[in-house]
């Protein structure tokens, strides 16, 4: 993200990303000067926790981590307060290739996340919050670490937060480099010191989460959105976006775009607007785009798909997912088999090894098949085998990681079957050009 030239759709007021890139924006002084912690104060001193849950519910905010589950509904699954410890967990293990939206909040505006955690904690009556941050986010970690200490020293964390009767503190936990920790139950295992294997559901985190206690796990920008929803109200949030998908979201564009970067946009915007208006168009011919991070099936770069509105329902209907909003452009002369080999390699490396289809299919068989194709050793029948093995993996694994690998594979075959057939027939790719990172 070397050249962020615009951070938002100029037609709308920017909220969460308002102070990104501003000098000292990560400091408490700066945050306080710009109205920081006033929303938490309002929530803790003038609102009941159930009001907050209802407000978030009414806003229609859907989880920004990728699955799009309404956050207020998730919070309302928490069991009644019964004296047990409760946890609010922030999933800051942003590892989806193509996604960088959380990173800017963590690095440039950590207090916004802390304020969101206080509000979320109060909403579900959790006195302990955990921020599970991706291990590679070193700057984000140090800034968040310092911010938590600043906040604690100022009485924003600890006993009687903001002179209310509510106690709240945060635990900052660094991941050790596993994509699967973005899956909420694997994240909780990892936090507890166990292997990062996903847990069996049910029980869901609300019934038995961290250490078996009631827990809610939410994404960084979902939690931070909470601050603005409480500050400005659900109606303000709903004034953006559509019935299906309300509010604003952050799209991250990578690949051959003129202005690669993160953009705060209202939901319902079209992909054409994002790519051509905000990002300034493409620098070279593009044949496909991935709408939400590497695990989402790609769309051909055609009018049919460019005119889709960015809504959970619309994208799903078109055969892909909103995901994290990480849009990846795939150049015309990039061999799709090579591109997918890269994606498959990523998931093969990140498979936790718990279940058979992912360990043996995604982590063992698929990368070998792609290596064979790229080496020019493909034979007739290989494509059909790849399709059948993909079919045997999809929807059969323990957690969605295997599907996250298989869906892009299947989409690439669906839209670019001829490139697979070419490489099998000719023993070499349709496009000779190598990726920059391969050179």
């Amino acid at each position: 993200m070397d050249n962020i030239t615009s951070r938002h759709d100029p037609r709308f007021e920017v909220t969460m990303y308002k102070y990104m890139g501003v000098e000292n924006s990560h400091k408490l002084d700066f945050y306080e000067q710009h109205g920081g912690y006033q929303t938490a104060k309002k929530a803790l001193t003038t609102m009941q926790s159930v009001d907050i849950v209802n407000e978030v519910k009414a806003s229609g905010l859907r989880g920004r981590g990728g699955a799009g589950f309404p956050m207020g509904v998730k919070w309302s699954f928490m069991p009644p307060v019964d004296g047990r410890q409760r946890f609010i967990v922030c999933n800051a293990d942003e590892s989806e290739p193509g996604s960088t939206k959380d990173r800017f909040v963590l690095e440039d505006d950590p207090h916004q996340l802390i304020e969101g955690m206080i509000i979320a904690g109060y909403a579900i009556q959790a006195t302990l919050g955990v921020i599970y941050i991706r291990g590679e986010y070193h700057l984000g970690y140090t800034r968040l670490y310092d911010a938590i200490n600043e906040a604690r020293a100022k009485g924003y964390l600890g006993k009687n937060v903001l002179a209310s009767n509510f106690d709240f503190d945060l635990i900052l936990h660094r991941g050790a480099g596993a994509y699967i920790c973005g899956e909420e139950s694997a994240l909780m295992n990892s936090f507890e010191g166990y292997r990062a294997n996903p847990r069996l559901k049910p029980p869901f985190p609300a019934q038995a989460g961290v250490y078996g206690f009631p827990t809610s796990v939410n994404n960084v920008t979902s939690i931070a959105s909470g601050v603005h929803i409480i500050a400005k109200g659900a109606d303000w949030f709903k004034s953006m976006g559509t019935q299906d998908s309300s509010g604003f979201h952050h799209v991250q564009i990578s690949g051959p775009a003129v202005r690669r970067g993160v953009y705060e946009v209202p939901m319902g915007i079209t992909y054409r607007e994002i790519i051509f208006d905000l990002a300034g168009g493409v620098t070279e011919p593009v044949k496909a785009f991935i709408p939400g991070g590497s695990s989402c099936p790609m769309f051909p770069f055609t009018d049919e798909y460019l005119d889709l509105t960015m809504e959970y329902g619309v994208v799903a209907k078109a055969g892909s997912m909103m995901g994290t909003g990480g849009i990846i452009l795939i150049p015309e002369d990039k061999c799709i088999v090579d591109a997918l080999a890269n994606v498959v390699h990523f998931y093969a490396h990140e498979s936790c090894g718990k279940c058979t289809p992912c360990r043996e299919g995604v982590s063992t068989w698929l990368p070998k098949m792609y290596a064979k194709l790229l080496a020019g050793l493909g034979e007739s029948g290989d494509l059909e085998l790849l399709e059948d093995v993909s079919h045997n993996i999809r929807g059969r694994s323990f957690c969605p990681l295997a599907d996250a690998c298989i869906m892009p594979v299947q989409a690439s075959i669906k839209h670019f079957r001829h490139e697979y057939e070419y490489i099998i027939e000719h023993g070499k790719s349709m496009y000779a050009k190598k990726s920059r990172w391969q050179e």
């Binding site: 995604v362 093995v389 059969r396």
Partner: protein, 806 residues
């Protein structure tokens, strides 16, 4: 709940898993990760089926019915579901044979096999392998995987007892889950991830008493028993199901033998006793039976030598000698793991010889028969347990059943297909209810790790503890050694208020009749049931049928001190005690029934070859009062015979044969005493708890020492055989002399140093083990069959260093 499996309607309890519904319907579905008595985890993804449920109207919540058929409309889940982790719901429809289910299962077999080596012809699991069977039943028969398989270590020795072939592992996680869920010893885990995932131990290795179970659990040949490695193919073994004589649980085991040798022991299901688990001593402690040093023929003394003879010849010789004795001059002693049949035979022989000098050993002063007996399944569903002693070493299965109770999951209801394959109440890393367990012992015992309260008390204060607790239970003021008043009161309150309180005690309490009475009184006061841990497999049974002296002058110790002129002794080696050896030399006749030569056979006039516990046929009574069958495996033991044959031969030679043979007398006696037909016992045994003997004729006059500097402690290992069990010896090491570092420093001892020591007349050799959890001044010595548990005064000056540690 009504469910439909492949068209068959079933009524099942809520909470049943879909996989059990499938099996209950008589259908089949493959599975590798699910296992009886362990949590379902859904990781192998083999048990996939097409599953649907009735569609509900959102407004009314009622089922939407098909307009034509009137049947509920079925909403099919979009993907095949793992039946092991799916709970049934009302109206659920499960199709294991639907096209998409079959395709999913085939695809999963294929993927399971892509990294599994095709070395079945040299694999010990071949022929008894779940993966082999399932691949035949559900696989395509052909692999489309054309690449190199994963190469990993093929001979990774997890311990001296278990080897791991990492290439064969299919990552079902049964072994890892076993250690965490069953004994609570987390010693194994996956390392690395994805296709590189493999199994490894913690740095200390496999520190658990139950490691061998993972070789049974493993659905492939990845985890193998090293004692039986490459010894035979599964289809060549003769499988004999029997009860173990290793300890007082009577755990169910399978003896795998071939060409007259016992090659392997595996656990067998007994839902009432050991479930599917056995400890390592029970599993690996068998190799001695194949030893070339076994006595295979009767031997008779000719001058200084023992020479081979026939049973006929020696029986006549013995009869001649016995006929010359007066009443009460002959003595018979059995070991406490002899069968009921052997016990009756001994009693009949004693009757013919007109002697009351008959006993079994090891045996303590107090009765091992509880007044108000708890079964092991009672224990598993108990809500308050007080243990005083060392359960884990005495009867390891009791340790496991206590841990069942800590999970708070009662033993499952059985299906027609047996134990639930996926009991959805069980979870990985369940929070254990430690607070229900209190453990007290004179030193740090393993079970204390799992207890809510743990107390180390001064050795031999069991009586005082039970009496003080009884006072508290009766509302009187009292203080209990090693416990605070709050702790003692909390313990009494918990036991009092529990629905199913159980008190467990062992030889430490039985060593003094007063302590045993105090224990019983305390159990009565708080309304608790009791479990008493006898030292050997049939301690309960032999006491129940009164293989006991007619008078306190005639007990084991008195016999060894010269109360008899002739002695017939089975499977004990009293001459390892130098003082007893002197007395035994004075005997007019010493008949020793033994598996191996030892100090006592060296003094014998006649040596008779004995059968091991794996070669006998008979009946035992375990610590619950459960009659269990003991069956003989076809092991070549020469002319070895059990004590029943021995007694019959002597009776025949004496010309005193009655109308009935000893076997039918025993059969009748068992029916009379226990009310069961010993030839038609239930495969899981018949629970017939008795009342303790009211009038103990065997009140012995041995002084139980109230003071001492050493404690004979129970040991899971059978030390009399350990040097002939090479694998177990290599893993567990020689007998340990355990002491505090203060004592070690005072005597200039180092860890693992080999020393010899006179233990109340028996010269024994030990490896020193320094543990600061042992109270200073107290040395711990593992028990031998000739040395019952309890406190004794040790002559520490007899300590000699034999070897410096390596």
């Amino acid at each position: 709940m009504k469910v439909k499996v492949n068209g068959i309607e079933l009524e099942l309890a809520p909470g049943t898993s879909a996989i059990d519904a499938v099996f209950a319907a008589g259908s089949d579905v493959p599975y590798f990760c699910s296992h009886e008595y362990m949590s379902p985890v859904g990781s192998c993804r083999m048990c996939l089926a097409k599953i649907g449920a009735p569609r509900k109207d959102r407004a009314t919540g009622n089922w939407v019915l098909d307009e034509e058929t009137g049947e509920p409309q079925i909403f099919w889940f979009p993907n095949p579901m793992a039946t092991c982790t799916t709970a049934i719901m009302e109206g659920m429809v499960i199709e294991t044979e639907a096209e998409e289910a079959v395709k999913a299962q085939r695809g999963m077999v294929e993927m399971t096999l892509i990294n599994h080596p095709l070395d079945c012809p040299i694999c010990d699991k071949g022929g008894a392998c779940e993966l082999q069977d399932r691949a035949y039943e559900y696989g395509e028969g052909i692999s489309r995987f054309e690449f190199d398989k994963r190469h990993q270590e093929k001979h990774h020795q997890l311990s001296e007892l278990i080897t791991l072939d990492r290439e064969r592992c299919i990552h079902c996680k049964r072994c890892i889950r076993f250690f965490e869920e069953v004994p609570g010893d987390e010693v194994l885990d996956f390392i690395e991830r994805g296709g590189h995932t493999y199994i490894a131990t913690v740095e200390e290795g496999l520190e658990s008493n139950f490691t061998g179970n993972i070789t049974d659990l493993c659905p492939v040949g990845a985890l193998l028993d090293r004692t039986s490695r490459f010894k035979g193919r599964n289809w060549e073994y003769e499988h004999t199901i029997t009860s173990s004589l290793d300890d007082a649980s009577g755990s169910a085991i399978v003896l795998d033998s071939r060409t007259g040798r016992l090659e392997r022991i595996k656990a067998e299901l007994n839902t009432q006793v050991n479930k599917l688990w056995i400890d390592d001593s029970t599993r690996f402690g068998y190799e001695y039976v194949n030893s070339s040093e076994r006595i295979k023929t009767p031997l008779i003394r000719k001058g200084d030598n023992l020479e081979a003879a026939s049973w006929q010849e020696v029986s006549e010789f013995i009869a001649d000698k016995l006929a010359k004795l007066a009443q009460k001059e002959a003595a018979i002693v059995l070991r406490a793991d002899s069968t009921l049949e052997e016990g009756y035979a001994a009693k009949n022989l004693a009757k013919i010889l007109e002697t009351g000098q008959i006993d079994h050993y090891p045996r303590q002063l107090a009765s091992v028969i509880p007044n108000n007996s708890a079964s092991l399944n009672d224990l598993a569903s108990s809500d308050a347990i007080f243990v005083i002693g060392d359960v884990s070493q005495n009867v390891p299965i009791v340790d496991l059943r206590i841990k069942d109770a800590l999970k708070g999951v009662a033993p499952p209801e059985m299906f027609e297909h047996g134990v639930p394959i996926a009991d959805l109440r069980l979870k990985e890393r369940m929070i254990r209810k430690k607070e229900i367990l209190t453990v007290a012992a004179p030193y740090n015992v393993d079970l204390m790790r799992h207890a809510g309260q743990a107390h180390i008390y001064e050795a031999n204060s069991e009586e005082a503890i039970f009496k003080a607790l009884t006072k508290i239970a009766n509302g009187e003021d009292s203080s209990v050694a090693a416990m605070s008043n709050e702790q003692a009161e909390a313990l009494v309150k918990r036991l009092n208020e529990a629905n199913n309180a159980i008190i467990i005690y062992d030889g430490f309490s039985l060593a003094s009749p007063a302590a045993a009475i105090a224990a019983r009184n305390f159990a009565n006061a708080v309304g608790a049931k009791e479990i008493i841990l006898g030292q050997m497999a049939n301690s309960y049974g032999l006491e129940a049928i009164q293989v006991l002296p007619s008078h306190e002058r005639y007990g084991y110790a008195e016999i060894m001190q010269g109360s008899a002129k002739a002695l017939i002794i089975s499977e004990l080696n009293p001459a390892n005690n130098s003082q007893y050896a002197q007395n035994l030399k004075e005997l007019e006749l010493l008949v020793v029934h033994s598996i191996f030569e030892n100090e006592t056979t060296a003094l014998a006039d006649v040596v008779l070859p004995a059968k091991s516990g794996y070669e006998k046929q008979g009946t035992i009574v375990n610590l619950e009062g459960r009659l269990l069958e003991v069956n003989a495996a076809p092991i070549d033991a020469g002319q070895a015979q059990d004590f029943e044959f021995l007694a019959a031969s002597i009776i025949a030679a004496l010309g005193k044969e009655g109308k009935e043979d000893l076997a039918s007398l025993a059969h009748k006696a068992i029916r009379k005493q226990f009310g069961v037909d010993s030839k038609k016992l239930d495969p899981e045994g018949d629970l017939k708890p008795l009342k303790p003997r009211a009038n103990n004729k065997a009140k012995l006059h041995i002084q139980s020492t109230n003071i001492g500097n050493a404690l004979i402690v129970p040991t899971m290992l059978r030390l009399e055989y350990i040097d002939k069990n090479p694998h177990l010896l290599a893993e567990r090491g020689a007998a340990k002399l355990t002491m505090n570092s203060i004592d070690a420093d005072a005597n200039g001892l180092k860890n693992a140093e080999i020393v010899s020591l006179d233990v109340a007349g028996i010269k024994r050799s030990f490896s020193v083990q320094i543990k600061d959890s042992v109270p200073a001044g107290l040395w711990l010595i593992p028990a031998l069959p000739e040395q019952a548990i309890g406190l004794l005064e040790l002559d520490r000056a007899s300590l000699k260093k034999e070897l410096e540690p390596a």
